[in-house]
Symmetry: C2
Subunit: 455 residues, 2 copies
């Protein structure tokens, strides 16, 4: 249906030119691409060909090559560089703004990152190193320390002159104003500079109240502020309120995407840096612990079944339907859990409205349980010809889906109250609980009403 995307056409050309060894044409084609597109192309090339294409560009246009590499995920970017000597990496990384450089260095193997930092230090690139001193996922780590600031005593005309002299500054839209000791005192905009005469003191057109974050602020909080106040950038200050850097909205978009991936991943028990491109061995090591926890809980649920082994021995048909009770509880619980976990992440659910959410979800669980329980009862009756078996199946489903909805609301809220990420541990709790409650309610009811069941 859709026409081939331009980038796929370019990718095919890159592969063809590489195959026939037309390096000059290949280089020419690569140099016409936007760094973001190059990043995509590098990622899509087969492993065998990737390194040579990257090397070609690194040799002839190191800046563009590094810009492309910094548009990839830091894991992928660092992997592309890791084959080179530390000296060369240090030189290449200096093509990048220090926030991007820090992200890459952070993902280099230890035996490379240390000498690279050492060499950069000798060349007086202390900035990258100081960024790496801030905690992971903090504002300090993702900010750009090259922030353009105007002195508060300038006039508008002087400010415009200063701007004209600052070619190297990343996207300027907010103009931060600082005092003589670089304390952040206000903000103004290019547009406001244009609306007044050049003699106007900058102080007169600046807004002294502005939203800033501290270097140690969590990046998720930074993203929340930028998104809710519709900002294009947010200034970062140190503990003395001195301007330390700026975080632009494009970096915030990356944070928002990463945090969404993290939530999605955590619900499924996958760790955030386990990507399609992660080597199999590493993915295996990352996923095993979660599956191990699940195996333990699966055996706990199996023990519940084992308690009722005698009942199953007398009515084997119970074994056929018991996974339905457990599974449907799991599905209903996952629905509730997803709504609540995402609601917590987006700030829509908190303790303030928890009771309301609980009542609602319990009603939904009960409604789902009754509707589907009746249906399941009829089908089971039809399959096995025993109406009592159907009724017990339906009753167990009502119980389990109500349990699922209640737990699906309370467990993430409880974890949140304990300062544990609700996305992290909720789903294993819920499936364990719905398995246990499902087996226990169905087999328990069957044991109580055993003499009414066809044996």
């Amino acid at each position: 249906m859709a026409p081939p995307r331009r980038i796929d056409v370019v990718l095919d050309s890159v592969k063809r030119l590489q195959r026939i060894g037309a390096s000059a044409n290949l280089l020419n084609l690569l140099q016409k691409q936007h760094p973001a597109d190059l990043a995509q192309i590098f990622g899509d090339l087969p492993d065998a060909g990737r390194q040579s294409v990257v090397s070609l560009l690194v040799e002839r246009n190191p800046r563009l090559a590094m810009e492309a590499i910094s548009e990839m995920s830091p894991e992928q970017g660092a992997a592309l560089l890791a084959g080179r000597p530390a000296e060369e990496i240090a030189k290449l990384i200096q093509e990048l703004p220090s926030d991007d450089a820090a992200a890459l260095i952070d993902y280099l193997p230890e035996e490379l990152s240390q000498p690279v930092l050492e060499m950069m230090r000798r060349r007086e690139s202390g900035q990258v190193e100081s960024l790496l001193e801030y905690g992971e996922q903090t504002a300090g780590r993702i900010m750009n320390p090259n922030v353009f600031a105007l002195g508060e005593d300038l006039t508008v005309g002087e400010a415009i002159l200063a701007l004209q002299g600052s070619r190297d500054v990343e996207m300027v839209f907010y103009l931060y104003v600082v005092d003589a000791r670089r304390h952040l005192v206000g903000v103004t905009s290019l547009r406001r500079l244009l609306l007044v005469s050049p003699e106007t003191p900058l102080k007169r057109i600046m807004t002294p109240e502005l939203i800033s974050v501290r270097v140690e602020t969590d990046q998720e909080e930074v993203a929340r502020l930028v998104a809710s106040y519709n900002l294009l950038a947010i200034p970062v200050v140190d503990e003395e309120n001195k301007l330390a850097g700026v975080i632009t909205v494009d970096d915030v978009i990356d944070v928002i995407k990463d945090e969404a991936t993290e939530d999605l991943y955590r619900l499924a028990g996958v760790s955030g840096d386990d990507r399609p491109s992660t080597p199999a061995g590493e993915s295996l090591r990352k996923r095993l612990p979660w599956l191990g926890v699940n195996l333990v809980t699966a055996f706990v649920a199996a023990t519940v079944v084992a308690i009722f082994e005698g009942t199953i021995e007398r009515v084997t048909a119970l074994a056929i339907f018991m996974p339905i009770v457990a599974g449907m509880g799991g599905n209903a619980g996952t629905q509730t859990l997803t709504v609540i976990v995402r609601g917590i992440a987006l700030g829509e659910v908190s303790w303030a409205n928890a009771r309301k959410a609980l009542v609602k979800e319990a009603l939904v669980g009960l409604g789902n349980g009754v509707t589907l329980g009746v249906l399941a009862a009829l089908v089971a009756w039809g399959m096995k010809g025993d109406p009592i078996l159907g009724v017990l199946l339906g009753m167990a489903m009502v119980i389990n889906m109500s349990v699922a909805a209640t737990a699906g609301t309370l467990v993430p809220l409880g974890l949140k109250a304990l300062k544990i990420d609700p996305a992290l541990a909720s789903s294993v709790f819920i499936t364990t609980l719905t398995d246990i409650a499902g087996f226990a309610s169905f087999l328990g009811l069957a044991t109580i009403f055993l003499r009414y069941l066809a044996q």
Copy 2:
């Protein structure tokens, strides 16, 4: 640990002032808040008090009230307005830019949205209506049609004059340049205006190559472009390449969040507009179909168990362990699925590298299966004293976890190729498949090796 957030302090004050009936103080407090904070406060107020607080602000400061309402989700915002007469809603909605107005009207109940649009039309607010004519989730629907553009024949000095006269324009950072018939011909920036003399023709400092989208472009594609090229805004053109509007990065952030929620929701079988605040009856109606599909597939899996009823009758212990095989396959499949679905959404996985992803996931699945299968075999042996039962359990787990990994990769890629959202249908496929493969492999092996099992 954390100090109370400023907004929680404000919320408490709002509740207190409302309780003691101090309307003047309450209004004063509300008027000092940022619209985004008001939106949060409105959302957090108990249902009973919300309407009266909103009404107070609507009466005294309708613009601020509407700005706050437009910062809420459109469902919530529309619900707050829905109690008022159409005439008043029409008047209030005109306080908003037309993209925000259209979003709200879209969520009003039919019996209100029609008269509201009718009244707005009489007051010549055709813009909102024309936005609503674009398809849902397209660029046309979310763009701001009030885009500031400069004629290509202006000089820089004239452009600055034009800018100074345009107080009402939403964040200007890119300056789009159009020809006499409003065809988009280029882009420049405020900063570049400042770097040249006023007599310079605008044409000389504009970039003729710029990234734009069409009114019918899907909002997800818009978000992808803005995010990958680090844009602050993207121009929207009609089929003749005439400038129709602009989408700013703050709207793109909303799209990115919504799409992430959508992916998360779809994997759990929840529809995108099913929020914690959705009434129970509506949530029930929205979740039942998905659970219904799951019930059907659960019965299909139950039928597989029924085929082996004779085997279970002879070795009841099989009923204890069969949910483990199915469940562990489901967990492993969900991990693979999540990595692949998110990889597709972020553009990291495509047909180009599908084989590589498949080989990797199959290896991970095999590795997980062998490791956990051996563990499970030992535990089952310990529980039941039958080593053969343990071996069969382990073998079934290896088979099922390999099936899970393979299907977890192929199903979303296949759905993607069929132009179906992989997040939408993948998870029910995977759990059904892992249930069936789990029961069939374990009970099948048990049937084959029945005479070696302790009965």
